[in-house]
């Protein structure tokens, strides 16, 4: 069994140009729906049937643990790679419905659920105020976890009001990967 990593990478809703295979050096990588298909991810989340069907028909997702809300899981229960998302604590207080929220929010909650201490956010869409608010809510509720938003320069200041929210560039992320290798 692989040693448990302290890091986890969440690939958000936005397509990104980065060799995500490298991020696997740091720990598990979670994909959000079918926005990125370039590597075999450890986990992928989806909450619409269209996305799930596309994922099931994509060769790159073979071997990926697909996690979907319970209602969708019941329809695809006999598909080996499809699993039910756990019941995330505090969902009501965040006002998040797993069947209606964005896949990247599901991925973020899964990352926190898996109890990694540092969550890297790549291609994570925070231009949408709802998404940003949800990210901040989850970060506030999990002060023991560090959330590292990775972007191209210039770095954003959107997460500066969080004690456990940071922003860095892809260059710094690559340096961290190189050191881990």
């Amino acid at each position: 069994m692989a040693m448990k990593s302290a890091y986890i990478t969440v690939i958000g809703n936005l397509p990104i140009r980065f060799d995500m295979e490298q991020a696997k050096v740091l720990g598990p990588v979670i994909a959000s729906a079918n926005s990125n298909k370039s590597i075999v991810f450890d986990y992928a989340t989806a909450n619409t049937e269209t996305n799930l069907q596309d994922i099931l028909n994509s060769a790159s997702f073979r071997g990926t643990e697909l996690l979907v809300p319970e209602a969708l899981f019941k329809k695809y229960v006999f598909f080996d790679g499809v699993n039910c998302l756990p019941e995330f604590p505090g969902l009501k207080s965040y006002d998040i419905d797993p069947e209606k929220c964005s896949p990247q929010t599901l991925s973020l909650m899964l990352a926190v659920y898996l109890r990694q201490t540092v969550v890297f956010l790549l291609g994570y869409d925070i231009s949408n105020p709802t998404e940003l608010t949800r990210l901040k809510s989850i970060a506030l509720a999990n002060p023991q976890t560090k959330f590292m938003y990775i972007c191209n320069p210039p770095r954003t200041h959107q997460l500066d009001d969080l004690e456990n929210g940071f922003c860095d560039t892809f260059v710094k992320f690559q340096e961290l990967i190189d050191r881990a290798e």
Partner: protein, 121 residues
């Protein structure tokens, strides 16, 4: 090459033949004919699974009063086994248990038979 560990994700309970159900261990001690029938039933199930399953399966060795628990690695094998029950004249308890690899919990759902197959509720 390293062998990948087999994970039995799906589980259903197949009911014993009617006369063997809900018998306590004490009764079974006095009724070797029932024990013999149960052993033959278990062997027959194993033989059938050997023929119809494409991936790994397991007939649980633990004794349950109502039936025998079967484990499947593949969802397709499990589905095929459920819908082929009339063919074998066996009776499955209409519950499907699925191992969740994230929570390591066994989640149980109701099996609902429909004219076109089975659905899960």
């Amino acid at each position: 090459m390293q062998n990948k560990a087999v994970v039995y994700k799906y589980s259903v309970k197949l009911m014993w033949p009617a006369m063997c159900r809900n018998r306590s261990v004490e009764i079974l001690k006095d009724r070797p004919d029932l024990v013999d029938q149960m052993n033959k039933f278990r062997q027959k199930v194993d033989n059938v699974l050997k023929l119809v399953s494409r991936k790994h399966y397991q007939v649980d060795a633990a004794y349950l009063m109502s039936g025998v628990r079967l484990w499947f690695e593949s969802g397709q094998d499990c589905y095929d086994f459920i819908i082929r029950q009339p063919e074998f004249e066996w009776e499955i308890q209409p519950e499907l248990s699925v191992m969740n690899p994230i929570t390591s919990q066994l989640q149980t759902f109701d099996i609902v038979y429909t004219p076109t197959g089975v659905t899960i509720d």
